[in-house]
């Protein structure tokens, strides 16, 4: 499986962009946690994860992605068991559990589940490439995805369910989803969204949704002007942070919103605000451009993949990075309801970073084994 590797085809541009994003992220985490002594160990943790992640990229790149696809049954079962165990432990503590504690690490299986689902879909769409794109084809893909996603939904972790749904939908689309199905999907989606928003707005409880999630949705649609210190506080502080950054920012370590802790969860969910405050528009645009570049390199790898499963993997990873990035930045700028998705490669978080590095490793593996039209 290590044969036929030409490092000439390894995407060093993609690797470079990842290194740049991670380094920038770590730098910003350092500034963001500076005001809180208890959080300072996070800087080194993030650096260790980043270094381990880079190693992981090379290791995964070397291994042929088809090898993982061939192991899809054990991978699927292990992942399912992990998610089910997480769901059970959440039941035991009467609340949402997002991670297992392994030694000093908090492992979030959900982050890895997203990569697993990309692999599973890659196998499925390759296997069914000659099948008609009928409802049966769609339904089976949904069954594969749903088998894992149901436990995530029950955690409950709606944001990641949405991420998975988007990945599934985009991959369906790229694999030839019929337009009539698309339109019925869109119609159903709009209906579901409308119900969600409407129910949330009128404070009618919806199963699988936590009360706070519905409140967030309601707050997003119609912010309560009296709720400055309530639900809208964090987003308001994020907007102040971004807006006060101006063109060139307040300077590294000098953003008052970040350093005086007005900005909450500034090393994870709201790191984009911290960047925009301290580095201004220049920093904000840089982040968006790096993300765009990474997404483009993933899409490029997908186009040059030697087989369907390869291109689906790369498309899936691109979608994952794109969607999480856009939602996170959108939350920061108050154009998306608060969701808790991290900013890829930049937000603090070991599991999130590792799983994304894993994804990039897979994309590099696809790029290394590109189709033989290279002259």
């Amino acid at each position: 499986m290590f044969r036929d590797i030409s490092w000439r085809h390894f995407d060093f541009w993609l690797l470079g962009a990842i290194v740049l994003a991670t380094a920038f992220g770590t730098t910003m985490i350092r500034s963001a946690v500076a005001a809180n002594e208890e959080l300072t160990p996070l800087i080194n943790r993030q650096i260790y994860f980043a270094l381990a992640g880079l190693v992981l990229i090379f290791v995964v790149a070397v291994i042929d992605y088809r090898y993982w696809i061939s192991l899809y049954i054990p991978i699927y079962i292990v992942m399912g068991v992990l998610l089910f165990a997480l769901f059970l432990s959440a039941q035991a503590v009467f609340g949402a559990a997002r991670w297992f504690t392994v030694g000093v690490l908090f492992v979030q299986p959900t982050e890895f589940a997203k990569i697993v689902i990309i692999l599973i879909l890659a196998r499925y769409f390759e296997k069914t490439q000659d099948r008609p794109r009928d409802l049966r084809w769609i339904a089976f893909s949904l069954l594969w995805v749903g088998g894992l996603t149901i436990w995530i939904l029950l955690q409950p972790n709606l944001s990641n369910v949405v991420v998975i749904a988007v990945i599934w939908f985009i991959l369906l689309w790229l694999s030839g989803l019929q337009l009539k199905h698309l339109f019925s999907f869109v119609a159903a989606g709009i209906l579901a969204l409308g119900t969600l928003v409407g129910f949330s707005f009128f404070r009618i409880r919806i199963p699988f949704l936590q009360e706070y999630q519905q409140e967030r949705i309601a707050n997003f649609i119609l912010p309560d002007p009296n709720a400055t210190f309530g639900a809208t506080y964090n987003v308001q502080q994020a907007l102040i942070a971004i807006g006060s950054g101006g063109l060139f920012g307040q300077g590294y370590g000098h953003g008052t919103q970040t350093q005086l802790r007005f900005l909450k969860v500034r090393h994870t969910d709201f790191i984009f605000s911290a960047i925009s405050e301290e580095f201004g528009m220049v920093g904000g645009i840089l982040v968006i451009l790096i993300l765009a570049f990474i997404i483009w390199r993933c899409l490029r790898a997908a186009q040059h993949a030697r087989d369907i499963s390869g291109s689906i993997i790369a498309y899936g990873v691109a979608t994952l990075i794109f969607f999480q990035g856009v939602v996170n930045i959108g939350v920061n700028m108050n154009i998306v309801p608060v969701s808790g998705l991290p900013l890829p490669f930049i937000s603090y978080g070991g599991s999130g970073l590792t799983s994304l590095m894993l994804g990039i490793g897979l994309v590099e593996s696809v790029a290394l084994r590109h189709k033989s039209l290279d002259f």
Binding site: G176, F262, I288, F322, M333, K371
Partner: protein, 747 residues
């Protein structure tokens, strides 16, 4: 096959392009939003960021101290100790924290834990109930760096122990707040007053000046209220940067220190005040004991230097204990005071008006002699009673129906009356019949009486009918009735009878005890009406006397100010201390309160304050723009009459002043009144009227330096009830003076 083989390995390009399109669109809108936030709305958000971390802290200035004329403190500031915990400074370990709570709990007697945080939310600061843990937990959730008061107003000893303990208890400290202390308490409460919270109506204004409602206080009564602008000082200001938890990081602007309020020295002599209070209380108690019931419900004694207007003592009964209001105003105490029918919160010396009775004859006498109504040496027949007719218009005939007897006070003991008297003896004997004649005229004997118009002129000239302008709030202006006033307020024409009884200070005439005092003081000071004052001087925090002017209309304080105009010319102007308004001229009526000056309101023998009237057959018409003065000889004649009240064998004050070593002149008053209480007791009828007791006297007669006025509500005869009060106060004054002279002789 070839087409299917492409589809095997490649996505249809248009599907991919759609994806590219979506990506570009979404990222483009993110960029657009970013730019609009940072570039177009940047300054607004920056302002909000600045507002987030900027806190303005106003520092309370220390309030000026109030002294008496000898430097004795009447109102000072003392420390009130509160035990506080700063949640953010507590140790990390819960065990350590609980240990601190337990140890502290033993010292300050507040349970370490009691109730819930929800219950603690319902309780105001300093109110006992919640445990230490609950108070701290509540404070921590609001602002962890703000000290939480767990026990207010602890003993100094406890405060010291807590401070010693706090070495081992991080987060615990003692906060010192200044509170007002009144060493003389109720003795001077009516003059000094008390403080209270800034009322809601003034909150906005106070905030703008840098005062903090709920922390800073303002005067509610006495000079604490009237001269608040002098005492209050200027708050300091710190603009500081804080983090989200409220921890102070640094000064954003150079801090401005608070300017302490100016100190106030009053003209009150605490020794005389104490003696006078004793006189008033013992006399009232003696009479009430004698009658076996509360007859005299309130009383006033005021002592003043008639030549300077300095009030040396102002005692009112009943009064209140202003120390009980120093930390906060207890609701039960305030209710008790305000529901008391004797109205202890009222300063009866200036805030209540009464019929002056015979002491008002000073006005009538001055007018009658100055207008030539009567000549010195002219004989006036004063029988025990006089039949006079009540005429509502000049042409009313006198018939038995409208004629009734006007009785002299002597009538009961001697129906013959005083017989033939002269002007001096009219005053000395306080003959009502004589004053009826002087006031309203009588047949051929007094062809043209003084009349109500001219009587009013003289009454006003010697201090009646207007606010005195003293530095105390809530002053009443009394009432000098005119025919016009009667038509408007009583719906009836003025009658000749009204004039007769007004001439003896009855009927519609009302005056405050201070106005009565002023009328006597004007005579004592040879016709000079001095501005009564209780302020001796104002000093700054370093003890330097500062120049301050007082406007009695709105209680504003004005100080001289140099101003520079556009061309650089420096000119003098005046600045209102409260509003910072600059004016070229002082407002009308403003007078200097510091450094001390004798403020002359007017000299009746020099300033033409008496408007002229032409009178004929009891009816007077105004001579436009014609004013006259009171002749010094007229004043002298009244002085002689008042002196004879003490020296003539039949004088009203002769008996009680016999043996008094210093030459005194005075006037008594027994004023009939009718109020709700009297009405209920069915005493508002002829021969049954209850009477207020008045006496005023000044000494020494040749060169007066003290005038004392005593008033006893429902006291009865002036000479026997108020008279002794005046004598004993005069004795106290001269005794204190002798001590002072002896001491200065030693030094």
């Amino acid at each position: 096959m070839s087409s299917s083989s492409t589809s095997r390995y490649q996505t249809q390009p248009w599907r991919l392009w759609a994806i590219y399109g979506v990506v570009a669109l979404v990222l483009g809108s993110l960029l657009f939003r970013l730019i609009s936030l940072q570039v177009f709305q940047g300054t607004d958000w920056l302002e909000e960021a600045v507002e987030n971390y900027t806190t303005i802290d106003y520092l309370a200035p220390s309030r000026g101290i109030i002294y008496d004329r000898n430097g004795y403190i009447l109102a000072g500031n003392i420390a009130s100790y509160s035990v506080v915990i700063t949640p953010a400074s507590l140790p990390n370990s819960q065990a350590d924290i609980q240990n601190i709570y337990r140890n502290l709990s033993k010292l300050i007697d507040v349970p370490a834990t009691q109730g819930t945080i929800e219950e603690a939310k319902l309780v105001a600061e300093c109110v006992e109930g919640p445990g230490i843990e609950q108070l701290v937990a509540l404070g921590e959730s609001l602002a962890p760096y703000r000290p939480v008061k767990v026990k207010c107003d602890v003993d100094e000893a406890v405060a010291r122990m807590v401070r010693e303990g706090s070495v081992d208890w991080p987060g615990v400290s003692v906060l010192i707040d200044p509170i007002r202390d009144y060493p003389t308490g109720s003795l001077t409460a009516n003059v000094v007053g008390f403080l209270g919270p800034i009322p809601a109506a003034l909150e906005e204004e106070a905030r703008a000046e840098g005062f903090v409602p709920n922390r800073d206080k303002i005067g509610y009564a006495g000079v604490e209220a009237a001269l608040d602008q002098v005492l209050t000082g200027t708050p300091g200001r710190r603009t500081i940067q804080v983090d989200v938890a409220g921890q102070e990081l640094r000064n954003l602007e150079p801090p401005v220190a608070p300017v302490p309020g100016n100190n106030l020295t009053l003209t009150i002599d605490t020794r005389l005040q104490t003696a006078t209070e004793a006189v008033l209380l013992t006399e009232i108690k003696a009479w009430n004991d004698y009658f076996g019931r509360i007859r005299i419900s309130s009383g006033v004694i005021i002592a003043m230097n008639p030549k300077t207007g300095e009030i040396l003592a102002m005692v009112t009964y009943p009064t209140y204990e202003n120390n009980r209001m120093s930390r906060f105003i207890p609701a039960y105490y305030y209710e008790q005071l305000s529901e008391d029918p004797r109205r202890p919160l009222l300063n009866n010396a200036i805030q209540a008006e009464f019929p002056p009775g015979s002491v008002f004859k000073i006005s009538t006498a001055t007018g009658a002699i100055n207008e030539g109504v009567v000549r010195l040496g002219q004989e006036i027949f004063a029988p025990g009673q006089l039949d006079l007719c009540e005429k509502f218009s000049p042409n009313d005939p006198c018939t038995p129906n409208n004629t009734r007897p006007f009785v002299d006070w002597i009538y009961e003991s001697n129906p013959e009356g005083f017989g033939i008297v002269d002007f001096y003896r009219c005053i000395a004997f306080s003959s009502n019949v004589c004053f009826y004649k002087l006031g309203g005229g009588y047949e051929d004997e007094i062809e043209e009486g003084l009349g109500i118009w001219r009587l009013g002129e003289y009454a006003r000239a010697i201090g009646y009918g207007a606010n005195s302008g003293i530095q105390l709030i809530g002053e009443q202006d009394g009432l000098i009735p005119t025919p016009q006033w009667k038509r408007i307020n009583q719906g009836e024409n003025w009658s000749t009878g009204d004039t007769y009884i007004a001439a003896v200070g009855q009927g519609y005439v009302l005056g405050t005890p201070l106005q009565v005092l002023m009328s006597g003081a004007t005579i004592a000071a040879d016709g000079k009406l001095m501005q009564p004052t209780i302020v001796r001087e104002v000093t700054d925090s370093e003890g330097k006397v500062v120049e301050q002017w007082f406007n009695p209309v709105d209680f504003s304080i004005w100080v001289p100010e140099q101003i520079e105009d556009d061309r650089g010319n420096i000119s003098g102007a005046w600045r209102n201390v409260g509003s910072d308004e600059i004016a070229d001229k002082l407002p009308e009526g403003t007078y200097r309160i510091s450094p001390f000056t004798e403020n002359l309101k007017w000299d009746t023998t020099v300033d033409p304050v008496i408007q002229e009237y032409s009178c004929d057959a009891g009816y007077c018409s105004l001579n436009e723009d014609a004013y006259k003065v009171i002749q010094p000889s007229s004043i002298q004649a009244v002085q002689t009459g008042m002196r004879m009240a003490v020296t003539d064998p039949r004088g009203t004050l002769t008996r009680i002043f016999s043996g008094f070593p210093i030459a005194v002149a005075g006037k008594t008053g027994t004023a009939e009144y009718c109020d709700d209480v009297a009405l209920q007791a069915q005493r508002c009828q002829f021969g049954q009227w209850p009477t207020h007791s008045w006496t005023l006297a000044y000494a020494p007669f040749d060169d007066p330096e003290i005038i004392v006025m005593a008033f006893a509500y429902n006291g009865g005869e002036g000479a026997s009830v108020a008279g002794p009060m005046v004598i004993r106060t005069l004795e106290a004054y001269f005794e204190i003076k002798a001590i002072d002279i002896a001491q200065s002789g030693d030094g």
